[in-house]
Every structure is written in structure tokens, then in C-alpha cells.
């Protein structure tokens, strides 16, 4: 097991390098750089002055060097724990990540918690009451979760809160440690919108897995022993049915990071998603690279955790 973990951790290195290379090249393939954005969007300088200024800014930021040189320099800095200096915020990217990361993680964890708490019982009800009205209701809910785009459900929540309750979550972000109540008042809504979306496939998978398991011989045996139905479902069937659900949920957390970008903007949560959008719009290369690097790292780590969790849940699985 230890060897397996070490091997997987070592595999992170080429994966992260690959991601960093792709994002490094892609960002530079997009036309326009920070120097042009700064000068042209102001549009107040004379044309000749503007050109000279663009050249000067590029030189100051090292953007006039070949891409390969820039990449090697960036990698060298990363190895020394230096994520670079943000062009748009004029401060170390590391400081920005330290602020943003906990906010995004809090949102992601709350989303996952809400989604699981909601999706698994719904899937169970749906399976147990198969082809009866509770099943139809649960399936309709999960289909609507899948079909409503995440940005739409976010805006819809805002609309409903204002229109029918004349209330809006706090506009200012306060950290969980500073004021848990105000923090939750703000964070709960994007988490709900996102949980509604990701709970749909989890509900459907739980249902189908449970339907399969409750037809197994050992479940029939449990019933024939005279066990009450709830015990049969929760103690015998559900534990086995949830194995693929765990893997699937882990995989969805990766997708969740994409949705968080949208949620953070709609609900004004100053996390990595909002930072990513601002940085991409301003071609703030060091910040974009750092955020993508961190997100890719999280994704890889989650995959590893899911694999290890799988082995823990199913003792038949052994990692060599």
C-alpha cells in the first residue's frame, strides 16, 4: 500500500508538469497580453506613446523573452516555492492563494456535504419505492438538477430571495472563523445551487446500484432470516451499493471546481474561481498558472484519495 501511494504521488510530477506546460502555452496563444490590455483599454495615450509603453511594460515583466525561457524561469521559481508576482494585484501570488484557497475549499466541502446528504437518501427512496410516486418525484428532481444550468439556478436563487423574501445574502464576505453565522448566510446559497446540480447524478447512481444490490442472493437471505426491511437496506444493501457512488462522487468533485468559478461570481465569494476569471481577463499569467496548478493538484489528490477510500471500503481490493 505504501509503495502504491508513493508511486501515485510520484506520478503527480509529470501530470502537474503537463498541466503547467499546457496552460503556459495556451495562455500565451491567446492574443493580447497584460501590457496591451493596460495601455489599449485606457486608450488615452497617443498611438506612438502607447507602442513605446507596451514595449516598456513587456520588458519590465519579462514578457519580451522567449516562451521557453519564461517557462523554465517559472518552473525554477515554483520549485523554490515561489509562485511569482501578480501583475494585476502587485503582490506575491502565494499571498493571494492563501486568501482564496480556504474560501473555495469551504464552498466545495459544503457543496459536497449538502449534495451527499440530499442525493443518497433520495436515491435510496427512489430505489426502495421503485415505480411508485416517490420514485417518480425523486427522478424528476434529479433530472431537473441535471438539466438546469448551474448559472441559471444561481441567478434563480437570487431572484427568489429578493422577489419573495425581500432578502439577500450578505454582500460582504466574512470568514468562517470570524463570523460563522454571516459566513454561512453567504456560502450556503452557492453551495445549494451547486449541490442541486451535482446531486442529480449521485441520486441516479445510488438508485441504480441499490436496485441491483437488493436483487442479490445475500439480500434475499437477509430478508428470509426475518430482518426488518430498513435493516436489510441500510446494513446489507446500501453499504455495497455505495462503493461506485464514492468513486463517482470523488470524480464529480473535480468537475465541481469548474462550477465553483460561476458560483463565486454570482454570489460574490472572493475565492480561486473569481481570481481565475479576473486573472484570465487581464492575462495575469503568474496568477492563472498558479491557480490552474493548484486546481490540478487538488484533482490529482482527490483521485488518489478516492482510490484509497475504495480499498478501505472494499477489503477485497488490494493495491500492489
Amino acid at each position: 500500500m505504501r509503495e502504491y501511494i508513493i508511486r501515485r504521488l510520484l506520478l503527480f510530477i509529470p501530470s502537474l508538469l503537463g498541466v503547467s506546460l499546457v496552460i503556459f502555452v495556451l495562455m500565451r496563444l491567446v492574443p493580447g497580453d497584460i501590457a496591451e490590455i493596460l495601455v489599449y483599454s485606457a486608450g488615452s495615450e497617443q498611438a506612438t506613446v502607447a507602442k513605446a509603453q507596451i514595449a516598456k511594460i513587456r520588458q519590465e515583466l519579462g514578457l519580451d523573452q522567449p516562451i521557453a525561457v519564461q517557462y523554465v524561469l517559472w518552473l525554477k521559481n515554483i520549485l523554490q516555492g515561489n509562485f511569482g508576482h501578480s501583475y494585476i494585484e502587485d503582490r506575491p501570488v502565494w499571498n493571494m492563494l492563501r486568501e482564496w484557497f480556504p474560501r473555495t475549499m469551504e464552498l466545495a466541502i459544503l457543496t459536497l456535504l449538502l449534495a451527499t446528504l440530499w442525493a443518497v437518501p433520495l436515491g435510496v427512496v427512489s430505489a426502495v419505492k421503485q415505480d411508485r410516486w416517490p420514485d417518480y418525484l425523486c427522478r424528476s428532481l434529479s433530472i431537473s438538477g441535471l438539466s438546469v444550468p448551474i448559472f441559471f439556478s444561481g441567478v434563480l436563487i437570487l431572484f427568489v430571495l429578493v422577489r419573495y423574501f425581500q432578502w439577500l445574502p450578505p454582500l460582504e464576505y466574512v470568514s468562517l472563523w470570524e463570523d460563522p453565522s454571516r459566513n454561512l448566510q453567504k456560502i450556503i446559497w452557492p453551495a445549494l445551487a451547486q449541490a442541486f446540480y451535482i446531486s442529480a447524478p449521485i441520486t441516479r447512481l445510488t438508485r441504480s446500484q441499490l436496485l441491483e444490490v437488493i436483487r442479490e442472493d445475500y439480500v434475499r437471505t437477509a430478508r428470509s432470516k426475518g430482518l426488518i426491511e430498513q435493516l436489510v437496506i441500510y446494513r446489507h444493501a446500501l453499504k455495497n451499493a455505495l462503493l461506485p457512488v464514492v468513486t463517482f462522487t470523488g470524480w464529480w468533485v473535480g468537475r465541481l471546481l469548474g462550477g465553483i468559478v460561476v458560483m463565486e461570481i454570482i454570489f460574490q465569494v472572493p475565492g480561486m474561481g473569481m481570481g481565475l476569471i479576473t486573472s484570465v481577463n487581464n492575462r495575469d499569467y503568474p496568477t492563472v498558472q498558479a491557480i490552474v496548478f493548484v486546481m490540478a493538484g487538488i484533482f490529482l489528490l482527490l483521485n488518489l484519495i478516492v482510490d484509497l477510500l475504495y480499498a478501505w471500503l472494499d477489503p477485497r481490493i488490494k493495491y500492489a
Binding site: 491567446v30 492574443p31 493580447g32 496591451e36 490590455i37 493596460l38 495601455v39 489599449y40 483599454s41 485606457a42 486608450g43 488615452s44 495615450e45 497617443q46 498611438a47 506612438t48 502607447a50 509603453q53 516598456k56 511594460i57 494585476i88 494585484e89 502587485d90 503582490r91 493571494m96 486568501e99 441567478v155 437570487l158 431572484f159 430571495l161 429578493v162 422577489r163 425581500q166 432578502w167 439577500l168 454582500l171 460582504e172 464576505y173 461570481i265 454570482i266 454570489f267 460574490q268 472572493p270 473569481m274 481570481g275 479576473t278 481577463n281 487581464n282 492575462r283
Partner: protein, 533 residues
């Protein structure tokens, strides 16, 4: 009889008292917090080095200028840190007397050296100052401290824009000791001003807070205890905050649409005031006169004749906007040509539109009997794509086939700057000054930053320079009229003004004594604003 009248007299007195109440209620009250919002996270706070409203707005109430735009009579420069100024007879030097006893928010005394440090900074050769620097660099030769409370500016030539520039919200005075200590004003710790508010907190991506400066040099001001600017990036979030009463005003860019204003009114009946206001922003269509087919003056004229600004205003701007004029009559007063005169120019007269379109068709047919395909481009921001659809529809009528391209904002700017376009269907420019020089220097001078058409006309440059150097207002008005008439007579000019933009705004009924300025940048200090609560 007399005694019977007493109740009547008392009732009349009571009524008079009641009627007098609103007047008494208009007495400014103290206290309260103004809740406002910023449409973007400014991140860098250096007002001298930035150019977007988000940056200016972030610290607007923290700084003072030598002059400022009168918060109660927008557009009029009045003394701020200066008590008075005097211009030399030849218009080449200005001497400002400064207020005594003013302190920076960190307790250091304010002196003429701070003014010198500020203007030397924005005009320094190696310092990029896209707003204040661009305004004063071309005209300022020298700034010197005569004594601690007197500053003298020497100009390269007389300039009608000097006083409006000094009063601009971008030319605020920064402390010399902070500039020396921090080198820039990007971080919150460097934001030390002399203004009505101190910067209390800046939580990136979340909120900017100002608190009342108890030592403000105008005793008794400001009235409110503080201002909170929530950073609300998304349009739906901004609207939701307005409808829920979480923000007290919308005076930012972009303004609300009519429908949005109605929504806010409906959500908070009687609690808000909504209104229309020109935002000193002009919408143009640009043709690239160095590319086919617009290297041909006839084709440029055809486009001008085909475009219908009235239809665009009606359909895209919900009927509000000022078509065709080179200056907004409501903001530039006498400097602008009368609208009736402008509407007589070909292409702008609704009564002769059919005839104009027919003439345009003939012009296109003369050079391209089978019509011509042209690439129309716009940046995918605000309502630019909607406007472009109408522009394209109008061009199709005269035989121009369209290949439409939209660009992400930054890429669009890059292409415009490099002259890489055939038609830019929609591009706005917000003015920094409500002085006519800004419009012509930016868009019509040969090397103007927003002259994307890169069209040079020596006569236009000559008149722009004449207008700039003239300090007598009546003569300036005459020069700018001559300049406008000349540009309007150039039917093949590739920079075509479609409209001056107006927007919808709201204010909470509790918010008093707030006036929109003549540019989006001025009058964001809340110096004299108070809350009726």
C-alpha cells in the same frame, strides 16, 4: 367673530408648519453609512497609474485635489486644497494658494511640496499615468513650491484644459512622504489622503470601506460616518442588491437599462428615485480608411449615409441618447453645436433618410455593382453585439454583405490599436473631462489614442491645437464650432459618431444632496452627502 376665527388661524398655522416641515427636513443630518458598490475589484489602488473607474472610485473620498468639481453644481471647478488661484496674463503660469493647517490622514502636515511631488510624478518621463498624466503632461512645463503654501505651475503654452485637468478626479494630491516611502500607491497601506474619508479597510474581492475623517479641513463635513463599497462584479448580483435595498445608489458603469430601473422601482416603490443621465460617453463606428473598400472616400460616405443613429437609439438604447452631435449638448453647453443644426447634416436627418439610403446604394453600386463583402468587428462587451446587429442590418440595405466577428474585450482593443479591422461597428469612449478638447484630442487628432481609424487631417489638428491654446471662453467656443462644422462637412471621415449615451440610475430616497457629475469619474467623494434617516 374674532374668537371664532382662532381655530381657523391655528389650523392655518398648523398647515403652514406642516408645509414648512419638508424644508426643515432638508437640513443635513449626521451619521449613517452609505452603501454603494464597485463594479470590479480594483486590486491596484494607485490613482495616478490606473485608468478604470473601479480604481478611481475605490479611493475617491480619501483624496482631495487642488480643485474639485463642485459637488452641488457638477461641472464647475471650485477650490479644494487650494483657497484660490491666479493666472498670469499670458496664460502661461498659474499660482495656487493652499489651505493652512491641513493634515494628511497619518497626521503629517500637507504642504506645497506634496503638490509638487504629485505633479512631478504624473508628468515624469518614465511613469505611465494614463489619466492625469495624459491630461497634464503635454501642457505642463514646470511645477514649483514658492513657499509652503504657494505653488506655481508654468505651462508650455496657454491651455484651456489646465484648470479642468487640475480639478479632475484623477489628479488628486498624494503625500510626498508616502510616495518616497512606498514608491507607488497600489496597496491599502499607501492610501493616505486629506479627503473627507479615511480608507478603513480593503478586503480584496469583497469590500472597500471608508470612515469619516474627523480632522477634515472643512469643518462639519462629511455628514455620513462612512461609505461601504461592496465589490459586485456580476450584473444579476448588482441588480439583486439594488432591488433588496442593500445598495443606496447606482452611479457606476455601465448604467442600468430602462427595464432594470423599472424593476428596481417596482421592487421598492416610493423608496427609490430613478432617473436618466448622460454619462459623457460617445459611441462611434470606425472605418479603416487604409483597407479596401474604405480606402475609397465614396464608400466611407455611403456608410455614413446608410447608418441610422435614430433607429439605433430607439431600438437599443430604449429611446434615450443624443444622435450625431460631436459634443453632448447637455454636458458641453455652448461648446456643442445646436442639435437642430447637426441633424441637418446628411445621414442624420430622419426626414431625408430614405433619400440618403438611395444615394448610399448608388455610391456602393458605382464601385461594386455586385455589392461587396466586408468584415464587421466588435468587442463582445455590454450591448455592443446588439448595436452591431442594427449597424449591420443598415449596411446590408445598401449592398454591403457582412462577415461578423466578435472579439474578447482585450483582443478587440489589441486589434483596434494595431489597425487590424475593416469596420468597428461599436466602440464607446468615456470622457475624462467635460472640456471639448478631450473628445477631439482622443478621437479626431492624428495621433489620438482613440483615433482607431488613424485618419489624419492637418486642418483638424490645427483647429484642435487652436482650441487647446485659447483661454478666452468665447473664442474657444468659436474655434470648437468651426472644428465641429468642419468635421461634419467631411462626409468621408472614417470616425462616425452614432450617439452620446445616456443611462438610467437610481438613488435611495434616504440619500440626500448627491449629484451626478459631468463625467463618471467626478463627484464620487460623498463630501456633502447625508442620509435622511
Amino acid at each position: 367673530m374674532r374668537t371664532r376665527n382662532i381655530p381657523l388661524i391655528l389650523a392655518a398655522l398648523a398647515a403652514a408648519l406642516v408645509l414648512a416641515l419638508p424644508a426643515r427636513a432638508a437640513e443635513p443630518k449626521r451619521g449613517g453609512i452609505v452603501n454603494w458598490f464597485n463594479y470590479a475589484d480594483p486590486t491596484r489602488l494607485d490613482i495616478h497609474a490606473e485608468s478604470a473607474l473601479a480604481h478611481q472610485q475605490a479611493t475617491a473620498g480619501v483624496y482631495s485635489g487642488l480643485l474639485q468639481h463642485d459637488p452641488e453644481k457638477p461641472g464647475e471647478p471650485i477650490p479644494d486644497l487650494a483657497t484660490s488661484y491666479q493666472a498670469s496674463e499670458d496664460g502661461l503660469s498659474y499660482t495656487f494658494k493652499l489651505r493652512q493647517g491641513v493634515k494628511w490622514h497619518d497626521g503629517q502636515p500637507f504642504t506645497a511640496k506634496d503638490v509638487v511631488a504629485t505633479f512631478e510624478r504624473v508628468t515624469a518621463k518614465d511613469f505611465r499615468s494614463p489619466r492625469c498624466g495624459t491630461l497634464v503632461k503635454p501642457i505642463l512645463a514646470k511645477v514649483e513650491a514658492v513657499d509652503d503654501l504657494t505653488v506655481k505651475f508654468t505651462l508650455k503654452h496657454p491651455a484651456g484644459t489646465f484648470i479642468p485637468s487640475v480639478a479632475s478626479a484623477w489628479c488628486r494630491i498624494a503625500p510626498k512622504h508616502i510616495l518616497e516611502r512606498d514608491k507607488d500607491l497600489n496597496q491599502a497601506k499607501s492610501i493616505i489622503g486629506t479627503g473627507p474619508f479615511k480608507l478603513k479597510d480593503y478586503k480584496r474581492g469583497s469590500i472597500i470601506e471608508w470612515e469619516r475623517n474627523p480632522d477634515y479641513f472643512i469643518k462639519g463635513l462629511p455628514y455620513v460616518d462612512g461609505v461601504k463599497q461592496f465589490i459586485l462584479v456580476g450584473r444579476p448580483t448588482q441588480l439583486a442588491a439594488a432591488k433588496a435595498g442593500r445598495v443606496m445608489l447606482w452611479d457606476t458603469w455601465p448604467p442600468m437599462s430602462k427595464a432594470m430601473a423599472e424593476e428596481v422601482n417596482k421592487a421598492r416603490p416610493g423608496q427609490v428615485k430613478t432617473y436618466q443621465w448622460p454619462i459623457n460617453t460617445v459611441f462611434l463606428t470606425y472605418l479603416n480608411h487604409k483597407r479596401k473598400p474604405f480606402d475609397n472616400p465614396d464608400m466611407r460616405k455611403a456608410v455614413r449615409l446608410a447608418l441610422n443613429p435614430h433607429e439605433i437609439i430607439e431600438k437599443v438604447f430604449e429611446g434615450v441618447g443624443l444622435p450625431c452631435n460631436l459634443l453632448d449638448t447637455r454636458l458641453y453647453g455652448d461648446f456643442a453645436l445646436p442639435q437642430e443644426e447637426v441633424l441637418k447634416t446628411p445621414g442624420c436627418n430622419p426626414a431625408t433618410k430614405e433619400k440618403d439610403i438611395e444615394e448610399a446604394k448608388q455610391l456602393v453600386k458605382k464601385h461594386y455593382p455586385d455589392g461587396v463583402e466586408v468584415e464587421v468587428a466588435t468587442r463582445a462587451v455590454a450591448d455592443y453585439v446588439d448595436r452591431s446587429q442594427l449597424v449591420m442590418q443598415q449596411l446590408r440595405k445598401i449592398g454591403i454583405r457582412i462577415n461578423f466577428k466578435t472579439y474578447e474585450s482585450a483582443v478587440g482593443f489589441r486589434n483596434w490599436g494595431a489597425g487590424n479591422f475593416t469596420i468597428i461597428s461599436s466602440q464607446d469612449t468615456a470622457m475624462v473631462l467635460s472640456d471639448p478638447h478631450g473628445m477631439f484630442a482622443l478621437i479626431y487628432s492624428g495621433d489620438g489614442g482613440r483615433n482607431y481609424a488613424r485618419y489624419k487631417d492637418p486642418k483638424i489638428d490645427e483647429l484642435i491645437n487652436k482650441g487647446l491654446r485659447e483661454t478666452n471662453k468665447a473664442k474657444r467656443v468659436q474655434t470648437y464650432h468651426e472644428l465641429q462644422r468642419y468635421i461634419l462637412s467631411q462626409q468621408d471621415h472614417p470616425s462616425i459618431v452614432i450617439s452620446w449615451i445616456e443611462g438610467f440610475f437610481f438613488e435611495d430616497a434616504k440619500l440626500k444632496n448627491y449629484r451626478q457629475a459631468t463625467t463618471v469619474y467626478d463627484n464620487n467623494t460623498f463630501q456633502k452627502v447625508w442620509l435622511d434617516q
